[in-house]
Amino acid sequence: MTAFLLKRVLQSLVLLVIVSIIGFAVLNLIPGGPMAQYALDPGMTQDDMDRLAEQLGLNRPIWVQYFDWAWRMLQGDWGTSFRDGNPVTTVIGRHVFATFLLMGSSTVIAVAIGTWIGIRGATHRYSIFDYAATIGAMVALSIPTFWFGLIGIYVFSLKLGWLPAGSMYTIGDGSVLNYLHHLIMPSTVLALVHIAIWSRFMRASTLDAISQEFVKTARAKGLSERRVIMKHVVGNALLPMITLAGVQLPSILTGALVTETVFTWPGMGRLFLDSLGYSDYPVVMGLLMFSAILTILGNLIADIVVALVDPRIRLA
């Protein structure tokens, strides 16, 4: 286990370095580079700019700048927001909860429904249900998330008036129920694509598990089909799904960004767009790096969990 853990952590660190190089490249593509903020000031002469570049160390070789930037990132110095002068980490920290709440609840919805559809599709293979689920999943993957959100708002907020059209809670009412009421639509909208993905993979994974020898044994023991599926198949079928949950993180974040925009949800996605609008590049860069780190961490945790549950992996 230690060897596996060590190897996996090392791989993640290598990936982190690569991600930071990509991030640094994006940072330097931004017009004016890290000095964009100062270039906006008409009082800055070329002399001032040169002096500033000297002070900020921007006239050094690019790889020295990279190491300097990466070192400061490691120490938690992610720069300050152009917009309000707060440290980037503080600004991001304020928006993490909203996004995690949205991602978490939509993941619960996606896993619950997707698992059910996947298992049923596998046990009733080539039934009408299975075909409907397959076609439904392909259509769900083709619907733009924001459009689904707009339709949801039109039907459930504007026409029926059942659900709020946006934001995380009603001002002056911070009760859990109020949060939940606001959470229903955005988390369902965000979940749609992942129900589709999850159900497809769960179907394949269940079919894989059903064809294993131990299922034959369980059936030979005379267990009812229901018990065979619930006790022997589902657990084994869910195992690869843990890895999928890690792999899906970037796509959930992408969905969250779009969903937050439509529902004016005060999370990292909205922050990202607002920061882009204000050309607040330090926050944009911070969010870019934070999301990548989150992904790497998510994959690492998923792999460790799988290894803990499944001895075949940690011993291999």
């Binding site: 990509i22 459009w147 993979f201």
Partner: protein, 292 residues
Amino acid sequence: MTAITAARSPSHWWQSRVMRRFMSHKLALFGLVMISLLTLACVVGPWLLPYDMLFIDLRARFAPPFTGNHYLGTDPLGRDIAARLLMAGRVSLLVGFIAMALAILVGTLVGVIAGYRGGWINAVLMRTVDGFLSFPSIFLLLALSAALKPSPMMITVIIALTGWMEVARIVEAEVRSLKEREFILAGRMLGLGRAHIMFRELLPNVMGPIIVAATLTVARAILLEAYVSFLGFGIQPPLPSWGNMLNGAQQYLAGAPWLAIIPGAAITVAVASFNFIGDGLRDALDVRSDTV
């Protein structure tokens, strides 16, 4: 006679192998017909409609569908939505296709080289693929399109830049498993050059998975274009795209829902068609399905 009994052996008619094949092909066929019609409409349509996409009909602002000659209604400026939708379709489909071509080109190149050369070249290339995959595509896309001036060509390049990794992974895995096969060993023994083996011997053998990936990449590229343009960082007005037609639609949702419904439906139909075709191709070409 044997063929008939073989087809009848499962208990229901929809469970037969023949039916299954037919089913998947029917869906692919449906996708092919839909996308052909849509493309045809976008290419020819603008000439047949009574209005130009930029003509402002001030007396018919916010007209709902089927008002006079405005078959799909008008937008807040009184421009004909049908005309704009079809012109936007040209832009969105073109962006999708070119982005796909670029992504497939880069992905295939990286995949073939990484798979065949192995060693540190493989390590560097494939870890770069992992690195790009660690970013949520829309974050990278938005950061880049805000940094670089968003001309339609630049948007296309950026979409390709966030979409080449899947192809690279698929091709790399295929090439890695193929390169130990006899025909490649024979080629090496004959003294064929590296480039010849990679692009004349290996590449034709991975065309199946590449074609499937290409179809799904078009779908993805159209969706991504819609996302960035909807958020205001993609194709810039007055040039319409399906995404940027939706850009202002939310504020008029109560009074003019067709502003949101129509372009979104066009995106869904186009993307679903490509997904259906990709699925059919995967069955027809017998490609192992790793993705959804």
